[in-house]
Amino acid sequence: MKPDMTVNLAGIPLRNPVMTASGTFGYGEEFAEYVDMESIGAFVTKGLSLKPRAGNPTPRIVETPGGMLNAIGLQNVGIDAFIAKKVPYLRSVNTPAIANFFGSTVDEYAEMARRLDEIPEVAGLEVNISCPNVKQGGIVFGTDPACAALVVSACRAATKKPLIVKLSPNVTDVVVMAKACEDAGADALSLINTLTGMAIDLNRRRPVLANITGGFSGPAIKPIALRMVWQVARSVRLPLIGIGGIMNATDALEFMLAGATAVQVGTASFINPGAAQKIAEDMEAWLIANNIADIKSLIGALET
């Protein structure tokens, strides 16, 4: 018998818990050739801002053992071009699209939430308070609980759609941040964003990335992400989206045991554009093989 793979993410019904992570899946359309969009739970757009953003100089990417560093700098088309050029594709796909967005001031965050709230094709909002690669904005909001609460409250007031807050791991205590976001009105939390890291070219005596530091992602960060999801799951009531180095169904199911209602596949989509679909299929196969009727029974089912 086919297991029940559906989960409910803060009011957004997902056919399965597998989502794609912001910044690793374009605006969806880029992957249409490789992924059956209706085989995954939801996809998340590249982070959007009011105005288009150029992003950082190159090199923007470097590989390190078991992971990669990126310092793209939130290059994106801006909200107007998103509505004109990217939303028509979202309309054609019967899978929830989550719009990831950011601002450089609290007002900008709120304005973005208002603009996205008006787009029927957007099923939910994911607010990025945690990009490590831009000098203003993001990082301050993502590392100070009072600032995070200001952003989340302002966005909350600007949208009735489900509001997901994406948390940074670059903090002393992720639980403090999670609670601040919960109290400020978030509907769900996604974690973790990338860890700040750097790579050095010994012979040139220079940093590899033009931005010097970048966000570290990939399988190397999974243990940290699992630990943070587990910690936050024990401390807040909100549904969680587990992110961090998920390469296969085993990784995804581990995040669910740790307390995640859904997961996001990120770096893996760079390596195999069809990764999210494969992971969703393999998760279902694992449930069948283990005689589990409902994937929801795994959420937070870690035995300690």
Partner: protein, 272 residues
């Protein structure tokens, strides 16, 4: 398209430079010159990302024995620069690799009959062989191959076999003339009668010089860029290059993987 390829041969053609032939689906035979593939060296997480390689050649091997099925193949020419390419160079015939491609925008073949000038630096020759193969059908083709030393001048015999007139230049004078390949290009341009198109692939400094020469002489010029990329499909935005009107205030970044890797030189921003 994503496919599993079986390596047919993997040979060091010059110190540090390798040529690999692999099986490919029939659709790959339609690859345009200038397109590339993303290769996963193995299934492990180190190296994690795929590596981009220009397509050196595509074709179909007709087995000598009767009744055997023709085998489409794809070739790439690569330089060992790091861990990923070093591992690639240790693979043997019948080993399997995971390939994504052909990807990106290839070369435009220009006006038939007009002279075609191809400029390649080192491993930048990789995507230019298939281009030369396509161009020689209708045009006179000249190749200007440059490198630091003779070891960087690759596969010249193959180009000559196509009927391409080859000029070589090395910085240490160990093969061809001593100096930069752009000097040989300039001399040819001085005697050129009629229209021509320049095609170039190689180090950024060389491309910059070729683009400037082409702009000064108002000759159409296409360049193939390299970029650090994670995905090859336009998602990671790692490989962008600034377009001609790019400023920090009015961003005009082009994705090397999907909008390139081949660009009209005039589309891009070059150093003055």
């Amino acid at each position: 398209m994503q496919f599993t390829a079986m390596i047919l041969s993997n040979v060091e053609v010059s110190p540090g430079y390798w040529r690999m032939r692999m099986t490919a689906p029939p659709e790959c035979a339609a690859a345009r010159s200038g397109q590339f593939v993303m290769v996963r060296v193995n299934g492990a997480i180190d190296p994690l990302l795929r590596r981009p390689f220009g397509i050196f050649d595509v074709g179909t091997h007709i087995p000598a024995q009767s009744g055997a099925v023709p085998q489409p193949y794809l070739e790439m020419l690569y330089r060992v620069v790091g861990k990923g390419t070093a591992m690639l160079s240790t693979l043997h015939g019948s080993d399997l690799i995971d390939v994504l491609g052909p990807l990106g925008r290839g070369f435009d073949l220009g006006v038939p009959g007009e002279e075609k000038l191809i400029v390649g630096g080192g491993v930048g020759l990789a995507p230019l062989y298939l281009l030369a193969k396509e161009l020689v059908r209708e045009s006179k083709v000249r190749l200007f191959a440059g490198g630091r030393t003779r070891d960087d001048i690759l596969c010249i015999t193959e180009f000559e076999r196509l009927g391409v007139e080859c000029y070589t230049a090395t910085e240490d004078g160990s093969l061809g003339e001593c100096g930069l390949v752009t000097e040989a290009l300039l001399r040819r341009l001085d005697t050129l009668q009629g229209g021509a198109t320049i095609y170039a692939c190689g180090p950024h400094g060389m491309l910059n010089a070729v683009a400037r020469i082409a702009a000064e002489r108002q000759i159409p010029c296409q360049v193939s860029l390299e970029g650090y990329m994670a995905c090859g499909v336009g998602a990671c935005l790692g490989c962008v290059a600034p377009g001609h009107s790019h400023t920090p205030e009015t961003p005009d970044f082009r994705c090397v993987c999907t909008e390139g890797p081949v660009f009209e030189a005039g589309e891009l921003k070059w150093r003055e």
